[in-house]
């Protein structure tokens, strides 16, 4: 599997993601500079976390105009795998590759902490190594992660089984107290209709090594790596 990690000028989880793919999983991984038009023949594009353009306007609002995004849209439309993590998720919604938008966290503060998530859909290329109902412990770190979409879109997401992760308590119960940032439907991650584009607010690259306190994020990368078999 060949991975490409996109670097925007303000990306700051680019190297973290690269390190996990390359050094922890031993995958062929390259950086993709946002100003270029070359996806270097990768099989999976990752839009990493960070503050792509400082995020002064809205997270991801300016990154969507980066030259490379043309190629990413085309790649996605042909079924290529695209994963957006945190700011990457925000960019995917701005690009229209995923529905909805992000509001500020309900407590109006940046939140950095481990959260628990319930895996809702184990039939995506990003999660097929897990089982529906699995509870994952993965950190979040964002200010604008409060997922919003109009009711009809939410309904569609549910009907099509596009919701992949929801914030839950440690037992996997989805409830308002566990919905840390106020997201509609407690949505923490979702795919597009076709299932080849996923966005998630939690950072799986921060939970892929025992030393960092959790390895639950490996599920996502392992699934992608083995996705050719599904």
């Amino acid at each position: 599997m060949k991975f490409g990690v996109v670097i925007f000028p303000g990306s700051n989880c680019d190297y973290d993601t690269y390190y996990v793919l390359k050094d922890v999983f031993g995958q062929e991984t390259s950086f993709l500079w946002h100003k270029e038009h070359d996806l270097k023949g990768v099989d999976c594009v990752i839009l990493p976390g960070g503050f792509s353009y400082g995020d002064y306007l809205r997270s991801g609002a300016i990154a969507k105009f980066s030259p490379l995004m043309k190629e990413v849209i085309e790649f996605a439309s042909k079924g290529g795998l695209v994963l957006g993590i945190c700011n990457g998720f925000q960019i995917l919604t701005e690009l229209g590759l995923l529905p909805g938008a992000m509001l500020r966290n309900k407590n109006l503060k940046f939140l950095c902490q481990f959260v628990t998530l319930r895996l809702e859909n184990d039939r995506t290329p990003f999660t097929h190594k897990g089982k529906k109902g699995n509870v994952l412990r993965i950190p979040i770190a964002h200010y604008e992660g409060n997922y919003f979409a109009p009711p009809e879109i939410i309904k569609e997401l549910e009907t099509n089984n596009q919701v992949v992760f929801r914030y839950s308590d440690a037992q996997g119960r989805v409830k308002e107290e566990a919905n840390i940032n106020g997201s509609l439907g407690s949505i923490a991650g979702l795919t597009n209709r076709k299932g080849n584009v996923m966005g998630m607010m939690p950072h799986p690259e921060r939970a892929s090594e025992a030393l960092l306190g959790s390895q639950d994020g490996r599920l996502v990368f392992q699934s992608i790596i083995e996705s050719k078999n599904i």
Partner: protein, 93 residues
Amino acid sequence: MKVRILVSYKDSVLDPQGQTVKNALHTLGYNFIEDVRQGKIFELDLKELSPEEVEKVIPEISDKVLANPIIEKFSWQIIDKSQTREGREKIST
């Protein structure tokens, strides 16, 4: 010329920032304030454009860049001094 673009959440979207401001004002005793909505404002300095150009370009910029149409609405005005005075604009120093 100067154009002012106002971007704010659609009425159907909750505005916790506005709520927080309202509560802060109530705590200070300004109870006659019934609601607060918070938004963003952009003041653009432009080369002189024709009215038609402005009509075209400002909504375009707003839709594409300044506002996210899923959650936000925008409105805009050309600012000229006389109107501003009418609007009872005051600059604190």
